[in-house]
Homo-oligomer: 655 residues x 2
Amino acid sequence: MKSLNVTQKLIQSHLIEGEMRPGTEIGLKIDQALLQDATGTLVQLELEAMGLDRAKTEVAVQYVDHNLLQTDFKNADDHLFLHSAAQKFGLWFSRPGNGVSHPVHMERFGIPGKSLVGSDSHSCAAGSLAMLAIGTGGLDVAAAIAGMPYYVKMPKIMGVKLTGSLPAWVSAKDIILEMLRRHDVKGGVGKIIEYYGEGLKNLSAMDRHVIANMGAELGATTTIFPSDDQTRAFLKSQNREEDWSEIVADQGCSYDLEDEIILDDLVPMIALPTSPGNVVPVSEVEGRKISQVVIGSSANPGLRDFWIAGAIVKEKTIHPEVSFDINPTSRQIIQNMIENRAFANLIKAGGRFHQSGCMGCIGMGQAPASDSISLRTMPRNFPDRSGTKDDQVYLCSPETAAASALTGEITDPRNLEKRYAMGYPEYEAPRLEIINDDMLVPPTKNNSEVKLKKGPNIKSLPEMEGLKSEYNLPVLLKMGNNISTDEIMKAGAEVLPFRSNIPEISKFSYTVIDDTFYQRALKAKEKYGGHIVVAGENYAQGSSREHAAIAPKYLGQVAVVAKDYARIAWQNLVNFGILPLEFENPDDYDFIEQGAFVTLKNLREDVAEKATIKMLVKNKNDEREISLTHSLSDRQVDLLMKGGVINDFKEQLTT
Amino acid sequence: MKSLNVTQKLIQSHLIEGEMRPGTEIGLKIDQALLQDATGTLVQLELEAMGLDRAKTEVAVQYVDHNLLQTDFKNADDHLFLHSAAQKFGLWFSRPGNGVSHPVHMERFGIPGKSLVGSDSHSCAAGSLAMLAIGTGGLDVAAAIAGMPYYVKMPKIMGVKLTGSLPAWVSAKDIILEMLRRHDVKGGVGKIIEYYGEGLKNLSAMDRHVIANMGAELGATTTIFPSDDQTRAFLKSQNREEDWSEIVADQGCSYDLEDEIILDDLVPMIALPTSPGNVVPVSEVEGRKISQVVIGSSANPGLRDFWIAGAIVKEKTIHPEVSFDINPTSRQIIQNMIENRAFANLIKAGGRFHQSGCMGCIGMGQAPASDSISLRTMPRNFPDRSGTKDDQVYLCSPETAAASALTGEITDPRNLEKRYAMGYPEYEAPRLEIINDDMLVPPTKNNSEVKLKKGPNIKSLPEMEGLKSEYNLPVLLKMGNNISTDEIMKAGAEVLPFRSNIPEISKFSYTVIDDTFYQRALKAKEKYGGHIVVAGENYAQGSSREHAAIAPKYLGQVAVVAKDYARIAWQNLVNFGILPLEFENPDDYDFIEQGAFVTLKNLREDVAEKATIKMLVKNKNDEREISLTHSLSDRQVDLLMKGGVINDFKEQLTT
């Protein structure tokens, strides 16, 4: 048998369909699923609509870590709903404030060799434990929970060899920042990044989490580490040594691509606004005045990360003009921070402690002051993500963050040796952490009896209609090229609270482009049974949000006719039963007017047979028949006939 | 010399004007001032507008405890502004997250025998240390900081004798809830409540804080406790024994009113929605299901209050359907909670810890789920104050709150003895607390050099015009009776962020009544130099917010013509230079139409001479001259001529 690397071993052991040839679709068996609350409410509504009896995965956990700020009833209601839904569908429920999904999952559920999908882009963090862990859209996770395979194009595998060991004041964050400096935010697209080499010897599992987590920022499908003695020590510290097994690359295995980092050569690194790929050595920007430092998030979630910050500020006071925000990642970690004095050190020095959760990492609190620098150990610094327009967020290690909190300016932590006569504090991990599972509510046995708790803002998913053969529909909108999902369904504080209420969120459909759309779509649905929209190239690029498909579907969208589509959104349209058509002759785009009427006949049949679809377009003053096509697989055609994935699953249940 | 009670001693020693006859105005020398951020931004802008060089009070402290949720740049910008303003005007600055103003002030600045005004209604909490401490409007606090006396009508003094001692599971909160059960939310209006008697012996200074704080809910001007051995022990625990002096009532002193509470007879009490005066014994509502418990706030801020909750939940887990929110009141208290294990106990049991501040007490986070009960140790449960519409907030002691968090239903803590075989945990206060003043930034010496840091949302106060003699103005609004300040300037998440931006907040003037007002006022200001409004009885009742005067003034409001006025709002109008006129013949109210034009001549002179003011009213179809009057003091007339208090102070500075 051929020598395999760790990634190949993990994929091979979960391969249900396809073969491991880069670029071809593979179907994977999924062992574990992870949901967070911001995407999870929709996933749970999808499970409800599917009529799922009980999760088929070995472990599925609903976390609540994003929407913890409760300024009205909506988030609190969502928490109660998610709890009831977890109980109903046989999931674990991690209660609000119990912690950020990724570190909690790693600590309490992660098992080397297992596969995981998560409805959060940083789900790849579990690769730190030699798991095959992929972040994806909510409906993919719902399907996995329902026992279906997860489909993905087989990525290339990039082997990154780590040699040597990290110098003082340099830590795991600097490794991933170095990777981002080299490869930027698209360097990992279509790739799985596997780390190997003797440099791994001194990287703890939590250090690896830092690197695997921010693999998402490289655009990588996921990141994989081997399962070795460090993995074993971590699981032992979690009192779960029995979950450990060794998974290392075979002698003589190979990678599609190669890179190497000599750890001894690394220096403290920092990502400048407004991209995680905008990385330079800290020394290059030293001295810039800052107004905020934030420690925590899923990118630096471990006990060590808080401990080192505490050790640096111990018996000192942070700079008077810096807000020093501490964002502990789990209740378990807080308990351990109390024991190892990190908590007291940080509080005494002036830390503002917040409840365990994602907080400012997703713009949910602690937005920085305007026109000032915020230094964060978080994974992302996209423009305005912090909640402050034109923000200046820099990303760095806990060492750099804590050093800068003391001085009030960006500071290379190596300079603490001179400025404060301080040696690099040496961390000793506890052999056994304090374990706290009390806020993890296990699945209940009598799940079928559980009633979903729906506050007034939580509405079941509407029924989805399958494709019909004949339509006479208005063209409600004609759009240009590169329309983003933000234009189809904007995010932000006004819209997000309605993520579990499709009728309500649908009112925001296309408002960025045309705020009469909602009313016109309602009328068209009543009068004509729906509508179509027309777009140019790269329709629905950007964020993967499913609401950009489900809300138009709710308003009666039968089809989009575009020159071409962004990949994820194209899949989302099909998943929710909207037909993504393409022009045979792109020049026909110019002919169609907004307000035209189109007639489609024999549509189901033509779509199924992949025949040319004839559409009669009646403009105000002229008409013409144009030819359309699609590039759907047979599986996708089948989904469309049924009105999407949810209906498909329901049908499977009843047959 | 006559025997004096403690209140009379405190007033006498600060009396500058008037005499201690209930109902007559007295002027008091103010030693200390307390600002919080939600009201403080306006106070600081007022100090700027006044041109103050440096605070004249012995101690003035700017706290930041209300607006700690940072969902965009505005609150963070306010924090930087408040810091710079504190430095500029010679105030202490308590940094964001350092704690709630009242307990921090008591711990670090409170001195028996001193007077204090605070721009927060719970400033009366400092009465726990035998201070004469009164919550009031921002401009009153600004004036006090500028060295002017504080004017108030001499209240009646109610002596409340405490005898015996509290039974197990009953604590200070139950005493003030019993007072509220007896006297309801108006029972203290026009009164100072002074506690005395041997029952005080076992009430710590922090227990007294609980009672003094919620004196605000009785409507009392303030609450006074003597300074005795408990006071001394408290100051000693704060390493400030030298600030202690004995202040007790003279033998044979008397009170205007009397009441008595036999402590031994008390049982755990609870305030039902939606008034702090709606009090019954806990046993009457036992068993009602709850979804949230919140521990903390200025009404139960002390180390003991957290410790007892921690002791009750120790080694247990809170009920799976209860969110257990812990709201520590200061960083110093957190440090002490770490030492006495309260912190670890609460976290382990499932507590969600939040940064030190007011949080849900003023609807800034942790709003409860809809249609469910939230049990809180906070001082107020007015409708929707939590942030959730139709909320069901109950107020109780930490004992009752912690017991209920365990059971998931309202629970009389005395029943823990049976349910959990638990004795009442006995608290031993540390003789010396961990002290932490590191986040209290002292006034700077070179304050005149400090520049105010104003983010884009912080605007200096506009200039205020003094009264002129002749006007020809439109009647922009005709309102009915009992118009509240909420209708003149609403609160809430949409409006509050503009509290330091008068031009912006003025857009919300009267929007509840008429959302065309702002545009019409702008036009009238440009075309006619201003406007007047007409109202029925009790104009501008409700909250004391100054924005209900300053925003209309900014939009050109010259006068209000009403049947009569709510007391505080009437004062606010004058303070900001709006003339509050009254009908000589209230029937004339009926004559004036919205849209009418009024002509006023010889106005300055008539106002100054308290002569009848003739106003010609031109309606669309008819006209008539009507007679108006006012009930202003000479001092107030003088303020109006100048355009309000700020201009008055500026004039004093330059003469």
